[in-house]
């Protein structure tokens, strides 16, 4: 039997009381595409950081081509022949593509430019080497990341959730690139929690749960249900099917909104139109970075329009474009932002003080003074009703896990009994149990007559809970589609959009 490219025995890593990795064993053969499969928080990213030398293990052994190694920095890992493409790109926006690449690849600029073009042609990774990164689309950025890795001639390429940022049609193109790489002898470690993708492209799969390996299989021999059971340790929970509702009054209307953000790196919005009724869930699909953040701020009131354009945002029967976030909340609006720490909650403050952030209007402040007793009561109710796992209301928000903090924030906003609830990325980085609970709550809000607006990257999630979806791509919002009438591929087509299609 040939010596494996990478062999790992008993690798462990803890952060404080959290055992992120426990005794991991993993073997990667030469010229294979090997999946690491697991839920959010199962320890996939930690494992990759240990292999790539970003973090150091507490215990265990790593062998590279049969020899024991201990990479203590990414530079050493690269020297061995390991390259990594990060989930949230490690590119520098203010630098050009070639400058970004020259940060880890030696050589003169002109020579690098030629090599970037050559590699681009060979693997279907075309990108302009002189362009500034901030002007590139998400797909182009990923190509830059992959080129950057390939320029160091790696034997092993690690991809952390590479498809989570890509529109569906670009995924096929990425897979084509990966197969070409494998055929030239490069092994690939492919991290994902998407079962179908793994079955489509991987030769081997190692499944992680709670920081430990629960199985190593050939994914083509198993169906998605098998893999899912190994991944989450139980059957997939399912939501009760959505029942059709008769929509009520219009709760939110944007009529062809144009907006150029202050941030020069932001995505301008063009002719964004949507209409949302009471008793209805509307989903905004699409990959982040296509105007999601800008649209969210315009709806939440964190960014306002000048007085004369107030009517471009109609909220709960009122022209609200010029109203700030507090005034919109006074109309009966509530909002859960995609950033939990630092926006939806103050990390250094206790949960009790974090309820006050938006729930002050629920009688927690009297004559300008904080009513501590009511604050405590509200917090206790939120923790109990929304199953927030925490030592108590005095715990700092920053100490909670992502899922628990999200349950807390969603709970706080729902307890304000809004008529219009807006949730951005409801289940990002949230474990499956908490995600299901949050989705149930959102559907219950709808059933109780509230209007619910959701921005999400997860198409499956939107299909599960929405009545209608629209797709936001390159600052433009597609027409509305009834979820009952369409398939996932229809949404995917809109995600490609004219702009991406032209560049691809």
């Amino acid at each position: 039997m040939p010596v494996p490219l990478l062999s790992i025995r008993g690798l462990s890593k803890s952060y404080g009381a959290v055992h992120a990795n426990r005794g991991i064993d993993l073997t990667v053969e030469k010229g294979s595409i090997h999946a690491i499969l697991g839920e959010n928080g199962a320890g996939k990213s930690t494992l990759m950081k240990l292999i790539y030398g970003v973090e150091s293990p507490d215990a265990g052994q790593v062998s590279w081509q049969g020899k024991p190694v201990r990479p203590t920095s990414p530079a050493e890992a690269r020297k061995l022949g390991i390259g990594m493409v990060f989930q949230h790109f490690s590119l520098f926006e203010t630098l050009t593509v070639v400058e970004n690449i020259s940060l880890i690849v030696p050589g003169r600029t002109a020579a690098l430019v030629t090599r970037i073009r050559d590699l681009g042609r060979e693997y279907g990774l075309e990108v302009d080497p002189r362009a500034h990164v901030h002007s590139l689309s998400v797909g182009e950025r990923q190509r830059v990341e992959i080129i950057r890795c390939l320029m160091t001639d790696p034997d092993l390429l690690i991809l952390d959730e590479p498809t989570s940022v890509l529109p569906q049609q670009s995924v096929a193109r990425l897979f084509d690139t990966l197969r070409r790489l494998r055929d030239r002898g490069v092994s690939i470690l492919f991290i994902s929690h998407k079962l179908e993708e793994i079955r489509a492209i991987c030769d081997h799969a190692t499944i992680l749960r709670d920081g430990a390996v629960t199985g190593t299989v050939d994914p083509r021999d198993h169906d998605a249900t098998d893999l899912a059971t190994m991944m989450i340790g139980r059957d997939m929970p399912a939501l009760p099917p959505a029942t059709a509702h008769k929509p009520g009054k219009v709760a939110l209307e944007l009529a062809g909104l144009d907006h150029t953000p202050d941030d020069p790196f932001g995505q301008p919005l063009s002719k964004v139109a949507l209409r949302l009724h009471q008793g209805e869930v509307l989903g905004i699909a699409g990959v982040s970075g296509n105007g999601q953040a800008e649209l969210a701020r315009l709806i939440s009131g964190e960014v306002t329009l000048p007085d004369h354009r107030a009517a471009e945002v109609l909220m709960l029967g009122q022209a609200a474009g010029d109203l700030g976030a507090a005034a919109r909340r006074a109309l009966g609006f509530a909002f859960v932002p995609e950033e939990r720490l630092g926006r939806g909650a103050v990390p250094e403050m206790s949960l009790a003080d974090n309820t006050l952030l938006t729930a002050h209007r629920a009688g927690l402040v009297r004559r300008g003074m904080i009513d501590r007793a009511r604050e405590a009561q509200f917090t206790a109710t939120c923790i109990r009703d929304f199953d927030v796992r925490t030592p108590g209301p005095r715990t700092e928000a920053g100490a909670l896990s992502g899922g628990n903090l999200q349950k807390f924030i969603v709970g706080r906003e729902i307890m304000l009994a809004p008529r219009l609830l807006f949730v951005s990325q409801p289940t990002w980085g949230v474990d499956i149990g908490a995600a299901t609970a949050i989705r149930r709550r959102l559907v219950a809000m709808r059933d109780a007559g509230a209007a619910v607006l959701i921005i999400s990257e997860e198409i499956e999630e939107l299909f599960e809970i929405c009545d209608r979806v629209q797709v936001l791509n390159a600052g433009r919002l597609s027409p509305s589609m009834k979820v009952r009438d369409i398939r996932v591929e229809d949404v995917g087509r809109h995600m490609i959009g004219a702009a991406e299609g032209g560049a691809a």
Partner: protein, 303 residues
Amino acid sequence: MIGLSFVLSGMLAAAMPFLLAALGELVAERAGVLNLGIEGMMALGAVTGFVIIFHGFGHATGFLGAGLAGAALSLLFAWLALSLRANQVAAGLAIGIFGQGLSALFGKSYESMTVAGLPKLQLPLLADLPVVGGMFTQDIVVWLGIAATLAIWAVLRMTKLGLIIRAVGENPTAARALGYPVIAVRYCAVMFGGLMAGLAGAYAATVYTPLWADGMIAGRGWIALALVVFGTWMVGRLFFGAILFGAVSLAQLAAQANGVNLNSQLLASLPYIVTIVVLGLISSNKKLLKRNGVASLGVPFDP
């Protein structure tokens, strides 16, 4: 016009304390560290340079000592702000106050004493031109300061080192993921800033006005900080901003030379007033600041 040729010949020298300190701070800020202790580092450099030169060790030794003193104080700042992750604003203020205190303490027995300045070096031919000729008759530090400006511009713009500094300032997490020692790069950038501030202080105290008086830095460190904003973190603009401030701070003398009767307190306030006005003009252009600014400026990096 006495005034014009006077201002032209003197403004480069008057600009040097601003320029040197601001160049150093620019490098530190490009790496993502806001050092508000510049005023204290200049004050400590000023007293160190003055004392060394006063005791006859010469300007070269004096400037060396001043640079080292500034760098040493900035090392303390870096330890607080980078290793201990203290609030950068508070740490900068603390170090600034500490440095000014040390300067007053060491300079106590030298109050009102003087040292010899530096001889002027002429650029041949150019120095003989009418009116503008004085611009080409400057001491060695001015010439070196201009050379340093060009060098820092070239390093930031065209070298791998400059690329690394900019990368660390924009996104320290990504820089670390690529294997760059973020904290070490920032230490070096901060200490370079401290070194330059020390030199700037020494120039102010031993060449520009070679006389010791407590508090002689008089807010120039703060103006240097403002200059980095005026220059929108670009070396070329910063250079011209520093010269503008050199010219403004000469206005008082020029006005007197021309017999203009302007209130002397008003003239002494002029650099501060100009700072406030220009700061307002530049800062209100949010897009410009965002495009040229340093994304991680002032944010402690917690690896």
